[in-house]
Amino acid sequence: MSLDPGYLEYPMRRKGMDHDLYPWSNITERPPLALPGGAKMAVGLLVSLEWFPIVPGEAPFRAPGHMQTAYPDYRHYTAREYGTRVGFYRLLDAFEKAGAKATIAVNAAIAERYPSIVADILAAGHEIVAHATDMDATIDSTVPEEQERAMIASARDTLTAAMGMAPTGWMSIARQQSWNTPRLLVEEGFSHCLDWVNDDLPYVQTTASGPLVAVPYNHELSDRQVIVVQQHSAESYVEQMKDAFAWLAAEGAPRVLPLHLTPYVMGLPFRMGAFESLLEWLAAQPDTIFATAGELAAALPGEDA
């Protein structure tokens, strides 16, 4: 038994990354982030607002949170809808109470089906980033380029019509991309993307069609990871986010605490109290602001939009 000789060849064994998507960079040697008002800490609130068809798509993969039982899966279809019609409004109210502006990653299907939600988001001053067409629109490298481009453009156009302006930020479903995604996003008019989780700070990715700012929202700190995957309580989640904030604030350079929220997870009645107490605690921290994805991208030294 032996492996193909190519298995012991390493064509990308070189200094830096093994790809050309972005260069390696050490966080301790970068110019400091220029946060609005000279703040030392930014809290980045991100909410995923998603529509799951009750007939789930399988190609190229079924999205996390999608239907699970044999058809018709009333329990998951309606529990996700609960998040959109009930939990999301609890989150909006909590943001307003804390004086916080958030980033909402919106499936285009939400804007089509429930235009009043888009109006409510914009009226409160929150920022919308495009989050594909619906939860069947997963992407990976098996998807043909023109099909992916058409999906990105369709999501952009639907959201543009609902918002009255074009979204400039993008987040892929499950953060999964193809090799083409960053370039297609630039070509279709996007300036920043929330998919990559490899950093605490925004940084610039490179594509054949120009730069794309990566705005990381650490998935390890998401309510989905902590509460759904690891099955911790909302109270433990709050303690973990406070520990994270305390460590980042003590690092001495401007840092970002990303809080990625899911309406059908955090927006449940028994969790909201703990989450509101976290927002209240964060709002009271010195030199701390709530910042949207666009504001974080603009805080990158050398970037202004």
Binding site: M17, D140, N198, L221, V229, H232, D243
Partner: protein, 307 residues
Amino acid sequence: MREGERDPGLYGFRPWRDRPAIEWPDGKKVAVWVSPNLEFYEIDPPANPHRKSWPRAHPDVVGYGHRDYGNRVAHWRMAEMMSKHGFPGSVSLSVSMCQHMPEIVADANARGWEFFSHGIYNTRYSYGMDEAQERAIIEDSIRTVREATGQTIKGWLAPALTHTPRTLDLIAEYGLSYTCDLYHDDRPNPVEVSGGKLISMPYSLEVNDHYGFFVYNMSPREYADTLIRQYDRLAEEGGTVMCIPLHAYLIGQPHRIGPFEDVLRHIAADGRAWITRSGDIADHFLSTGGYEAAEADCARYAKEDRA
């Protein structure tokens, strides 16, 4: 090992009670070593017929990005904190890190950390390699680490814990003194190899940060509490080894590093720990008769036919 047999014949049996004492330097009770895995996962590795590398099609953005967080952000957070409390690292190194991230390897070397090999990449598995291929990655490991750091590796933790039946014989032949791939004891023990002397160095999967967070789903504070209980028990029993295996992309997350600092603070303040490196534990064990004493102990319990 005895390939294909029901008993692989890796080591002799010896129960935990009635063992000859192990004396650690300065009368310490437990040898504690911290093992940061400095790993490189490839974004588009070739396929191994025996194991899939990424769950999703390449690029698996979240999986790859999660690991990359360790090399952009979390290494320094973890390393600074270890140095602050007087803990050197014993690095389980994807040796291609010497090419990809020489800054990180140099940082670890400057802190007085030891390096042992964890293969070329954590996305190149040993399953299915023939002897020449396996010799090639061992020779690559020895040469690469020596050129980058001046150190000669003494130990091995198989890349992504993938082995062949001849791995242990080969690393012993190349002069390595310990393997971190066997989990049968809280002390070093002789390993049966075709030539030379090889010992098993207690590493740990059970208190590995990967198991803590992704098998047992612990919160950061639960994991810290687990490590403190593990330490307190091993220090009380004495003559023991405790390893804390880490990955910067896990322990160096902002919500985990603070609770983990309490663990190092606890061990450093306790006074019963020999805070050291894996190679120093192996050297001490081998130079003070530990190997022979353990072999003699095993002989007391040996049976003619255990197959």
